[in-house]
């Protein structure tokens, strides 16, 4: 019995190809049945996320199965095989096993060490199992892959630190305020990055107040979309008492919030902590404001710097992760050899 994987991902194919080959969850049963009817492997599993589409299989007549699987992908995507064949990777064991362990652990993801993929692998496995497409080999392989992903997270620092600007800002806010539920976020300006950070905070229960001088209509539209409130520029300072996080992202060429102004705000707020996020370039908030008690000021460079350091730190863990995955592949191949007497 041999384990194979055939597919493409964000490293081998552009989004135009990936979106054509992607398999939505409601089509999963149909696609798996179609593969079964075609005789693609003895056991089979489909893993389709926004970054990858992969067919995992275990069987004996592998070359034939691979040919049939390619034909299936071509039919499903309505693309000629020649249009994407060179973007496909076909891996036999033990590389296929190593590949799955890396995928499940997030080492193969666009954001190294991300955790969403563990859930996606689990869902793909449970679906294939539910539709009776897996057997002894794929059951053992996928169950082990989930264990490997878990142990990698506990034995290494691959999941440490946030790696996007928005998630870094959320993490910081969570270290200032007990929870973000009910925290009021005021956004001055309608810049894309500021909106992203606001959305990330809203997902944790924060309430937005959108302010804009030049684009008040856009602020109103965003406030409606995000479930918040639009505040006229002239009135925003009267609402400072209510807020906990203040994000600026305007196109103003000069500093618009001076340290002295922030000092007055703090008095009005009875010294309640204030998290200032300056996403604008040139900066909107006087850097001297960070010296005030209970004021925590971060600008775009600070946030990007933290995200980059976390990324670099995660990447520094790759070697150790690869070593652990190699060991786990060895264990699995040992088990496979004992069970089926196949080549290692």
């Amino acid at each position: 019995m041999e384990v194979w994987v055939l597919g493409l991902n964000h490293k081998t194919a552009p989004v135009e190809v990936r979106e054509r080959l992607s398999i939505p969850s409601h089509q999963l049963e149909e696609c798996l049945k179609s593969l079964e009817i075609r005789g693609v492997f003895r056991e089979r599993l489909l893993l389709s996320t926004c970054n990858r589409t992969e067919i995992y299989g275990a069987g004996l007549d592998s070359q034939n199965s691979i040919r049939l699987a390619k034909e299936f992908l071509s039919e499903h995507s309505r693309l000629a095989l020649s249009d994407f064949e060179n973007r496909l990777y076909v891996l036999s064991q033990p590389d296929s096993v190593t590949h799955l362990f890396s995928v499940a652990s997030g080492l193969n993801s666009m954001v190294v060490g991300e955790t969403e993929i563990i859930g996606q692998v689990k869902e793909a496995y449970l679906a294939a199992h539910r539709f009776q497409q897996t057997g002894k080999v794929l059951n053992a392989l996928f169950q082990r892959s989930l264990k490997v992903a878990k142990s990698l997270r506990s034995q290494t620092d691959i999941g440490t630190g946030k790696v996007s600007v928005a998630s870094v800002a959320v993490e910081l806010a969570e270290k200032i305020f007990e929870r973000l539920k009910g925290v009021r976020v005021m956004v001055l300006g309608t810049g894309e990055m500021a909106v992203q950070v606001t959305k990330a905070m809203i997902s944790k229960g924060a309430l937005p107040l959108m302010v804009s001088k030049r684009h008040y209509e856009r602020a109103q539209h965003l406030a409606g979309e995000l479930g918040g409130e639009a505040v006229p520029y002239e009135a925003y300072e009267t609402r400072i008492k209510e807020i906990d996080v203040f994000i600026t992202s305007t196109e103003a060429p000069l500093v618009i919030i001076r340290a002295e102004q922030a000092r007055l705000w703090m008095k009005l707020r009875h010294e309640r902590p204030l998290f200032l996020i300056d996403m604008a370039v040139p900066r909107n908030i006087d850097q001297a404001a960070e010296k005030l008690d209970n004021v925590y000021l971060y600008n775009i460079d600070d946030l990007e710097g933290i995200a980059d350091r976390n990324k670099a730190f995660r990447e520094s863990q790759l070697e150790e992760c690869s070593r652990l995955i190699r060991n786990q592949t060895g264990f699995f191949m040992g088990w496979l050899g004992k069970e089926f007497g196949e080549r290692r």
Binding site: K175, I176, P273, E290, Y296
Partner: protein
């Protein structure tokens, strides 16, 4: 009780502190497990030593200064152990243990400095009311100072934009502020009740006149007043966060001087106790 036993208990607490520190910095689960075991074993030995003391001489166990420190350090570790078991707050144990270690060490070192016998005072109801509340208040202040130290550390990390592993493991500023405020309130109330108990006691034995010449009484009033001022500032929201946390740490220094004043003061109602 043999001096070696006291030292062994101290070393147990110290080793536990090292293990907790190792766990927090290097996230070693094994170290945390050893830390918990050491803390519990030392706490058990500490409790047994108190029981042995009482069984040898049946009276209030916190009559003398060294005994009081010995009891309060036990109560503090017990409180930490319960909090850890109930809420899993290992960071709290780590930041409180140094203060506990200091109190414990002082207790052991001042064992030979015991003052004159308390005589009939040993059996007065006011003795346990007075000392019980005072040491209860001290326990609250130790917990408050731990939270204040964590607050200052976390705040410094946020301001300096230099995050270590401690940043991830410590709770949010708001959580620390909440705990700090709660412990400070408990400490101030119990400490005030202890002082009040002492005043009633002095009145009962007609010692009110001499009481005011005692440096410990004066310093206790001062410390209590400063603690209530800090609490008042926090309650009125005139000051929050770093300044209040720094205030708690500074006032704890004054509390420490108050504690030590009677041991080293040549005269006064509390001299030698």
């Amino acid at each position: 009780m043999s001096f070696a036993v006291y030292i062994l208990i101290f070393l147990g607490y110290f080793a536990s502190f090292v293990c907790y520190g190792f766990d927090l910095v290097f996230e070693e689960e094994g170290a945390l497990l050893y830390g918990k075991r050491l803390l519990f074993s030392s706490l058990l030995a500490h409790g047994v030593s108190l029981v042995v003391s009482v069984s040898r001489e049946p009276r209030w166990v916190a009559a003398y200064f060294s005994e009081s420190l010995y009891l309060v350090s036990f109560l503090l570790v017990l409180l930490l152990w319960i909090l850890e078991r109930r809420f899993g707050v290992r960071f709290f144990v780590l930041f409180s243990l140094p203060v506990v270690l200091l109190l414990y060490l002082l207790a052991v070192l001042s064992m030979g400095r015991q003052g004159d016998s308390l005589g009939s005072a040993l059996f007065s109801k006011w003795l346990w009311i007075h000392t019980g509340f005072i040491w209860g208040g001290l326990a609250g202040f130790v917990a408050a100072v731990s939270c204040a130290l964590m607050y200052l550390f976390q705040s410094w990390q946020l301001k300096s934009k230099r995050w270590g592993k401690l940043f991830v493991n410590l709770p949010s500023l708001q959580t620390l502020d909440r705990f700090h405020f709660a412990f400070l309130s408990i400490g101030a109330i119990l400490f005030s009740l202890g002082i009040l108990g002492g005043l009633f006691w002095a009145k009962e034995i007609k010692e009110m006149g001499g009481l005011w010449r005692d440096p410990k009484v004066f310093l206790s009033f001062l410390t209590c007043a400063v603690y209530w001022s800090v609490l008042g500032l926090r309650l009125s929201s005139l000051r929050r966060g770093q300044k209040i946390a720094a205030g708690t740490v500074l006032v704890f220094g004054l509390l420490f001087v108050t504690l030590m004043s009677s041991t080293y003061a040549p005269s006064g109602f509390h001299a030698g106790f």
